[in-house]
Symmetry: C2
Subunit: 479 residues, 2 copies
C-alpha cells in the first residue's frame, strides 16, 4: 500500500492529496466512490488526522471530492472541465450478486488486522510462521527439478498427489480410498463451497453441530441453505437429534467436525460415531465429515473417522494441509463416491479451471518426504505448549470470570464468560486494546463465549495477549 514519503520536502498533506488525485484520474476511484473517513485514512497511512483533513480540504477546493453531511466524503460526480459523462453506479453494482459479504463481526476483525496497527491475533485459525515446515518446502523446491507439464491439469487434481493422499489417508486415518475417489481442492473452504453449489439447492436444510464454525460461513447464506443446529453433549451429537431435525425439516446433509471440533474442541466418542453413521445410513442422509485437526492430537489419537467405518458411501470426507502444514499452500481434499467426485470436478471448471500445478506438486512431495511425520510430531508438542501457556495465563488473570475445558488437540480454546457481556462491545474493547479473537455468537453460540486460537501469535506474545484480553473483558462486563 502507498504511504507518504517522510523524507521528502513536500508536505505530507500535499503528497496525500496528489496520490488521491492520481487514483481519481486513473479511474481507480470513479465518480461517486466513497473515501475512507479521516480517522481511518490517518490510521492506515500512519499520519495525524489533521494531515488528512488538510489533504481532503485541498481536494475539496479543487472540486475533486465533496463531503456530504451524514454520508461521508465521495469523489464528485460532476467534475469541472470534464464532459458531463456518466459512469457505472459502482456502489449499486457491489451491492448486487449472489455471494453475500462476510459476517459483520468477521469483517470487523479483518478490518482491525489490516488497519496497520499491530495486534495480538487470537482470531486467525492458522499456524504461526515457525510452526510450518518451511525448510522442508524450500528444500523440495530446490532439490527436485520441476519437470511437470504446465498445461491445464487433471480436473480432479494432480495424479501423484492423489496417489500420495491415498497412502496418507490409509496410514494416518485408516481410510481406504483409491485415487479415483479423491478430489484435490484448494482447501476445506473450496470443498464445502463445491458441495453446497453442486449437491444442494436453495432452500435445502442441513444439520450442523451447535455451536459450529459453519455458522460463520457466509457461503451457506449466499447459497440459500437453511442451517439447523444439533445439540451437542460430551460425546458429540446424538442420533436422536438428527432424527428429530430430519422429521421436522427433511435435512439433506449432516455436517460434522468430530475431532477437536471448531470452536468447542470436543471429540465425538467412538460409540457415537457408530450410532450416528448407522442413523444417517438408515435415513439416507450424507454426512460431511470435516477433519482438519485430527493429526494435531496432543496425547491419544482420536477414534477412527466416520469415513473409515463407512461401507456404503454415506460419508463425504474433507481434509486439508492448512492446519497441519501451511494454510498458504491451499491444498485440501475430499474423499467421496465417484459420481460425486466427477460432478464436483466438472463444476469446478466453471469457477477456476482447476488448481495450479505448483502447490499440488509441492504437497505431493511433502507428504512423501521423510520429514513430514517428524514435522507433525514437533507441531503437536509446540501446539500443546502454546495451549498450556494460554490456559495458565487465563487461569491466572481471569480466575473467576471464565471457564474452559482443556482441548486435547486443534488450534482453539473455547471460553465461557461467567458474567454478562455483549459480543460486539467485547470485540471493540479488544481491538482498542490491541488484541483480536472471535466472539462465540459468530459460531451460533449465545453471547458470552469466545474462541481464542493459540496457534497464530508468536509464542512469547500469548501471555501479553491474554492480559489485553482480560482488560477488555473487565471493561465489557456489566456489573
Amino acid at each position: 500500500m502507498w504511504r507518504p514519503d517522510r523524507a521528502s520536502d513536500r508536505p505530507l498533506y500535499q503528497q496525500i492529496a496528489t496520490n488521491i488525485e492520481q487514483r481519481i484520474s486513473l479511474g481507480e476511484m470513479p465518480p461517486g466512490s466513497p473515501l475512507p473517513s479521516e480517522r481511518k485514512l490517518a490510521q492506515q497511512l500512519g499520519v495525524n488526522r489533521s494531515t488528512v483533513m488538510q489533504a481532503y480540504e485541498m481536494l475539496r477546493a479543487s472540486g475533486l471530492i465533496e463531503s456530504l453531511t451524514g454520508s461521508g466524503t465521495r469523489v464528485c460526480r460532476d467534475r469541472e472541465g470534464s464532459a458531463p459523462r456518466q459512469t457505472p453506479n459502482w456502489s449499486r453494482y457491489v451491492e448486487s450478486g449472489t455471494l453475500q459479504p462476510n459476517l459483520p463481526l468477521m469483517r470487523r476483525i479483518r478490518e482491525g488486522l489490516q488497519s496497520g496497527v499491530p495486534f495480538i491475533n487470537f482470531a486467525g485459525g492458522e499456524l504461526a510462521p515457525d510452526l510450518s515446515p518451511n525448510d522442508a518446502i524450500a528444500d523440495i523446491m530446490t532439490s527436485h527439478p520441476f519437470r511437470e507439464p504446465l498445461g491445464y491439469g487433471n480436473p480432479q487434481g494432480y495424479v501423484p498427489l492423489r496417489v500420495a493422499l491415498a497412502s496418507f489417508l490409509l496410514e494416518q486415518r485408516g481410510i481406504a480410498a483409491t485415487d479415483e475417489s479423491i478430489l484435490v481442492t484448494s482447501g476445506s473452504q473450496q470443498s464445502l463451497y463445491l458441495l453446497t453449489q453442486c449437491l444442494l439447492n436453495p432452500g435445502d436444510a442441513i444439520a450442523i453441530e451447535n455451536p459450529s464454525y459453519a455458522y460463520s460461513l457466509a457461503m451457506f447464506h449466499s447459497a440459500g441453505i437453511r442451517l439447523f443446529g444439533l445439540p451437542v453433549d460430551d460425546e458429540g451429537v446424538h442420533p436422536d437429534g438428527i432424527r428429530s431435525l430430519h422429521k421436522q425439516h427433511r435435512v439433506r446433509m449432516v455436517l460434522l467436525n468430530p475431532n477437536y471440533q471448531n470452536p468447542t474442541g470436543t471429540v465425538m466418542s467412538a460409540e457415537r460415531r457408530i450410532e450416528v453413521l448407522a442413523c444417517c445410513e438408515e435415513l439416507g442422509i450424507p454426512i460431511v465429515e470435516d477433519d482438519p485437526f485430527s493429526l494435531t492430537a496432543f496425547g491419544e489419537q482420536p477414534p477412527p473417522p466416520l469415513k473409515s467405518l463407512d461401507r456404503n458411501g454415506t460419508v463425504l470426507y474433507i481434509g486439508s494441509l492448512s492446519k497441519i502444514a501451511a494454510s498458504g499452500l491451499r491444498i485440501g481434499w475430499m474423499v467421496a463416491p465417484h459420481t460425486v467426485i466427477r460432478r464436483l470436478a466438472d463444476a469446478r471448471q466453471q469457477m477456476d479451471f482447476g488448481l495450479s500445478i505448483f502447490p499440488q506438486w509441492i504437497a505431493a512431495r511433502l507428504l512423501d518426504s521423510t520429514s513430514f511425520l517428524p514435522h507433525i510430531e514437533q507441531l503437536r508438542i509446540a501446539l500443546r505448549d502454546r495451549r498450556d501457556v494460554m490456559a495458565s495465563a487465563l487461569r491466572r488473570m481471569l480466575p473467576g470470570e471464565i471457564s474452559f475445558e482443556l482441548p486435547q488437540g486443534g488450534l482453539n480454546l473455547w471460553c465461557r464468560i461467567h458474567g454478562e457481556v455483549n459480543d460486539y462491545a467485547l470485540l471493540e474493547n479488544g481491538i482498542r486494546n490491541g488484541v483480536v479473537f472471535v466472539p462465540g455468537s459468530v459460531y451460533g453460540a449465545e453471547h458470552g463465549y469466545v474462541r481464542l486460537s493459540y496457534a497464530r501469535p508468536p509464542m512469547e506474545e500469548i501471555e501479553m495477549g491474554i492480559d489485553k484480553f482480560a482488560q477488555a473483558l473487565y471493561k465489557s462486563l456489566r456489573t
Copy 2:
C-alpha cells in the same frame, strides 16, 4: 487410473471384477451407482469388450451388480448378506445444485480426450508444452530460496506480484494502475466467475460479441444471466448495437475481447474502441475487457486497450498468464475500481480462502525476470509458424470447402465450412478419426463453423490432424 496387470497370471476379467468389487466395498461406488457401458470401460482399460462382459457377468452372478434393460448396469441396492440399509440417493444429489454441468459438446470433447485413445487436439485453448517458459520457471524455483510466510495470504493477492503486474501492465499495455486496484485471480475464468457472482443478479442481461467464447461458459447459465449477442463487423462491435440492446434489455455489462477475439480472431479498430468506450460511459454500463492474447501479436501490436483510455473507471480489465506463459500456473488478474476489487476479494474468501502463495511467487519472479520478454518473442514466432502450417494444410486439403481469415495473433483459426454440416455429426466423425476441435455452435455461431487451435498439438502433428479433420468433414458434408 487403475488398469489390469497384463503380466499377471490372473485373467484380465477376474482382475477387473475384483477391482470393481473393491470399489463397491469401499463405498466408492455406493448402491445404485451407474457402471460405465461395456464398450466405454473396455476403451478406458484398453481391453476387449468381451473381457469386460465376462467381468460384469461374474459380478452379476455374485449379486453385486444388476443390468436393467434401458438403464444400463448399476451396483445393486439390496445386497445379499448386508442389512437392508439405505444410502444417500447420489444420482439425485448430483442432479441438484446451482452450478450447471458443462455444455454437452464440451463434455463430449473432454470425454474423448480422457478416453485413453490418442487424439490430435485442436480443441484445447492452451499452449503446447514446448511453448511454455519451462526452464525459466524451473530456474526460479531452484535459484531463489523460498522464504515467504506460509499463512493465509492477502485476500487481494500477493503484494510483490501486484507490484510486478502494475509495471508489466504499464510497460506492455499502457495501463496505469496501482497495486491497490489489482486483484490477482487464478485466471480469467475465476475473474469472470467473481464478476458474475458479485456484481450481477440472476435475470440480469449482459451483451457479448456474437460469436463469443462467453457462450461456451456454463457459468453464466448457472448464475441465471441472460446473454445477448452484439453483431460484429471487421472493426469489432458497433456502439449502435450496444445502444439498441440496452434499450431493449437494460444491459448491465458489456463483455468484450477486443484483441484476436475468441473464437473469430478479429481485432477491434482503434476508432471503434474510442466510440464503444464513450457509448458505455454515457450509458453508465461497465465494460469487461478480456485481453488474454494481445502479447501474442504476430506482427503489429493491437491498438491500445480500452482500459488505457478509461479515465472514469468504466472498464474492468482482465488478463492472465495462461495464453502467454502457462495455463497450469493458474495466474490471472483484474484491474478495476477499488470498490469492485474489495468486494470481489472479500467474496472470494467464501469460495476458496484466497490463492496459493506458490504460483503467485513464481509469477512475480517470472514477470520480473530478464528472460520473460525474450520468451514472449519466441512464442510469437512459434505461434505464427504453427498458424502458417495449419493454414497451408487447410488450403491444400480443403481447397473449396472452407474459408478463413488469417489471424494476426492468438491461438485460434476460425473456419467457415461452405457446405451444409451438422456440428454434432462433424465432432463425432472427428473423434472417430482421432482429432478434436470445437464446433462453432458452442460459441453461439450457426452450424458450419469450427474453431481450430494451432497452439496445443505438437507442431509435427498439425498437418496430420488437418488431414484427419478433412476426412471427418468430407464424411459429414450433406451432398
